[in-house]
Amino acid sequence: MLEIKDLVVNYGSIGALHGISLKVEKGSIVTLVGANGAGKTTTLRTISGIVPAKSGTITFAGEEITNLPPHRIVGRGLAQSPEGRMVFSNLTVMENLLMGAYLRNDKEGIAKDLTYIFAIFPRLKERELQTAGTLSGGEQQMLAIGRALMSKPQCLMLDEPSLGIAPLLVKTIFEKIVEINRELGLTILLVEQNANLALEVSHYGYVLETGRIILEDKSAALRENEEVRAAYLGG
């Protein structure tokens, strides 16, 4: 569904990604784990066209999308829930969700997806008319995921959904991610610092270190890998 080949990204003269390749199969949850500054967010932002790629290719659903403008990429069914939640804090919860459906015209489909999102995140329904800036961190994360779902994507990219959220809510959110993947058959690319959790919910994983992929395997196998255990899973 989504394939990256030899992707190189530089910020000015500083290299952020030194030729990474990865593959996300349709219907699976694939995770990209790694420490701070490994290039996880850069990878996602390059895929969604916010950061330009220097070389390499990104193919989505059989077509190359490298360096297309972001709004075109979303239009092709690749949605992103950005890092640090980034909800529109002055808009209401409802308006945020509708912003996610910005490129859609099918009123019925939008209403249906809205119902689905409120069903998986009842908290959002309760807060429907509140401005997003007044939500808790966890609620904002739910909103960011819901908003990304509103574009009816074929593939959803989640950037650090656990960042800055109460541990109890992190668990809920990851359960929801699995639920969305199972119920909608939605392909998910999950970027996460919390490797333990990410490898638990995903099918396949890549380990990124300073702009290079150093390991890849089935998530269950990565969890058993000595190296990964020592570096990311706390022994």
């Binding site: 969604s48 972001p70 529109f88 002055n90 409802m94 308006e95 509708l98 910005y102 809205l114 574009s151």
Partner: protein, 326 residues
């Protein structure tokens, strides 16, 4: 909601048309202030679309006002009087010239906006400030437009009705735009540009659109100004004029149209009020001096405001607004 606002607009226009009949009776001094209020409302509400709702920082609004003022004056001077007795009456020519001025300013806005709106924050302010100065500089040298002598000879077509009709239309367009599904894109760009892009919003397009629309309204305001004062001079559209408009937007609360309207009104009246105060002989000498130096008072006002109410007098839009899908 859309229908109601349309009815409201028509009602407002009719009221102004009615009021306009009585406007002849008031003293020219108060009339001058009233027209000034209307023009400032158009300028500030338009700029609010850029600086308030879209979260950019344009500091050269007077430049677009100048384009509109000169373009419309040129049009009426060239066509207004020869056609006055012919097929088109002078009012029609005047309104067409106003729209021409607005379109000219919008075009200028497009030319400036497309390259510069890729810049963010302070850089945009610097570019727009530069454009303001350049347009002034060009006008100072443009011989057919009077250069340093200024341009005069326009008839006074601007009246109570046209001024406030355009003010009402400006408010109507801005409010309806930001209240629409499409217009929420402006707010999204302001709240978080990266998230907006990730939603599939073409942020550059929105920024340019806000900029061009604001320039259009500034052009209309310029045309109204030119056909009221009947004389325009490049210095009348300098940096200080731009700052005046920005202050109205900030004082009113960025992204709060009602607040900006009130602020534009207050800041048009305030200098006149202070001028009056400085002439009251029974007031202590020092107080009259303070009143005389309005710029000092303005600065103090802004500093106090920023310290106590950084969201502007009338606050940000944190209140609940209607959501469309109810």
């Amino acid at each position: 909601m859309f229908e109601r606002s349309k009815i409201l607009l028509v009602a407002t226009l009719l009221t102004f048309a009615g009021l306009s009949h009585f406007a002849g009776g008031i003293s020219p001094y108060y009339f001058d202030i009233l027209i000034g209020i209307g023009i400032n409302i158009i300028l500030a509400v338009g700029l609010n679309l850029v600086n308030g709702y879209t979260g950019q920082f344009s500091l050269g609004h007077a430049g677009f006002m100048a384009v509109g003022a000169y373009a419309s004056s040129w049009l009426t001077l060239k066509y207004g009087y020869s056609m006055g007795s012919g097929t088109l009456n002078t009012t029609t020519v005047f309104v067409l010239a106003l729209l021409g001025g607005g379109l000219g300013a919008a075009l200028a806005g497009l030319i400036v906006g497309v390259p510069s709106l890729r810049l963010k924050g302070d850089y945009l302010a610097i570019v727009t400030l530069g454009v303001n100065e350049i347009s002034k500089g060009v006008l100072q040298k443009a011989e057919p437009l009077g250069a340093q002598r200024g341009l005069g000879g326009m008839e006074q077509h601007t009246n109570f009705f046209w001024t406030f009709a355009f003010a009402a239309i400006t408010i109507y367009v801005v409010l309806n735009l930001v209240g629409s599904t499409y217009g929420r894109g402006f707010l999204a760009v302001r709240d978080d540009e990266i998230a907006a892009e990730a939603m599939g919003i073409n942020t550059t397009k929105y920024k340019v659109l806000a900029f061009v629309l604001a320039a259009f309204f500034a052009g209309i305001a310029g045309g109204l100004y030119a056909h009221f004062k009947q004389f325009i001079h490049p210095e009348g559209f300098n940096f200080l004029r731009s700052v005046d408009i920005v202050v109205m937007v900030i004082l009113g609360g960025m992204g709060n149209t009602a607040g900006v309207v009130v602020a534009a009104t207050l800041l048009t009246i305030l200098p006149e009020f202070l001028r009056a105060v400085s002439r009251y002989e029974w007031l202590p000498e020092w107080l009259r001096h303070v009143a005389e130096n309005r710029m000092i008072l303005y600065s103090l006002l802004l500093i106090v405001l920023m310290l106590t109410r950084p969201q502007g007098l009338f606050g940000n839009f944190t209140g609940k607004r209607n959501s469309k899908l109810q």
